[in-house]
Symmetry: none
Subunit: 89 residues, 4 copies
DNA sequence: GCTACTCGGAAGGCGC
DNA sequence: GCGCCTTCCGAGTAGC
């Protein structure tokens, strides 16, 4: 026990520090990938522009298509809520 | 020429429509991947939390480390400018 | 000029301080009003609940109605964009 | 009773529908007012900016003052609790 | 207590 | 290059 106690606190800190560092680095790696994707998206818009498309309109199209998907999900959600409220689920 | 003109406009529209659709779908695919990564990041935070770490503090750490990196880049950029101004690049 | 210079700096600071304070207080007043409205909204939901309505469903209804309005605006926006792109505005 | 039963359900639905609609519209009206206030606040920041003030810093000031107020309220609440515990309220 | 939603602030992209 | 607008992130709040 004595020996264990001598080292426990430090070891715990070390473990926690290493553990924490691992989590932080995993997050940073994922954020790097996200950033890269953002760059890719920007590139695609640039490519489209080079092909004569209007980027502003394209963005709106993407935005509206997204809204449509979201609305569909919302409506399904409220339908579920109604069904649940009526004890029909 | 006349015959060509008859079809040109429609063909062009078709080509443009297909082209546009391709760009939009590429963008949507990339945004899907971004969204997935956001989910992964959220999961990592959740995992860290389950291991006893404080998520709010972790976010601060990640944020500060990012700022430090940005500052470093900023400083390197300024350094490059100075070196260039001195003809030392 | 000399006399003006004697006081200019201090006066400017005073003016700025007073000016800044005025802006800050106007903002805080407006935020107070916003907060009061949030409270009112909460009260209405509470009242509805007391009348047997399902607050969660009500929130969804309000949310969907808002989305519908937003979608309508978005669609008008993209229509305007198309018209502008075609030189028809 | 039979006659009553014939109409009760429909009447109830109608009453509920009207009632629900009234609540929803009250909420939407209040949210409109909130949105208008948000616009006013934005305008004040814009006005301050036009007068040479740094908006980002102003936001920090407002935020800090709010925290201070909250802290004060928190402290008063705790004080009240102590006083109550001591039977001195 | 944890999760999900909402809101305000900050950053990035676009147009003038 | 600057300002505007939209988008994204973090914080606080309400519900289960």
């Amino acid at each position: 026990m004595a020996k264990a106690n001598e080292t426990t606190k430090t070891e715990t800190s070390e473990v926690n520090a290493g553990h924490l560092r691992a989590f932080v680095e995993r997050i940073e790696r994922l954020e790097e990938e996200k950033k890269a994707l953002s760059g890719d998206i920007k590139d695609v818009y640039g490519e489209a522009k080079a092909n004569g498309f209007d980027v502003k309109i394209m963005r709106k199209i993407v935005s509206i298509r997204k809204q449509d998907r979201d609305s569909r999900i919302e409506e399904e959600t409220i339908l579920d809520l109604y069904l649940a409220a009526l004890g029909m689920n």
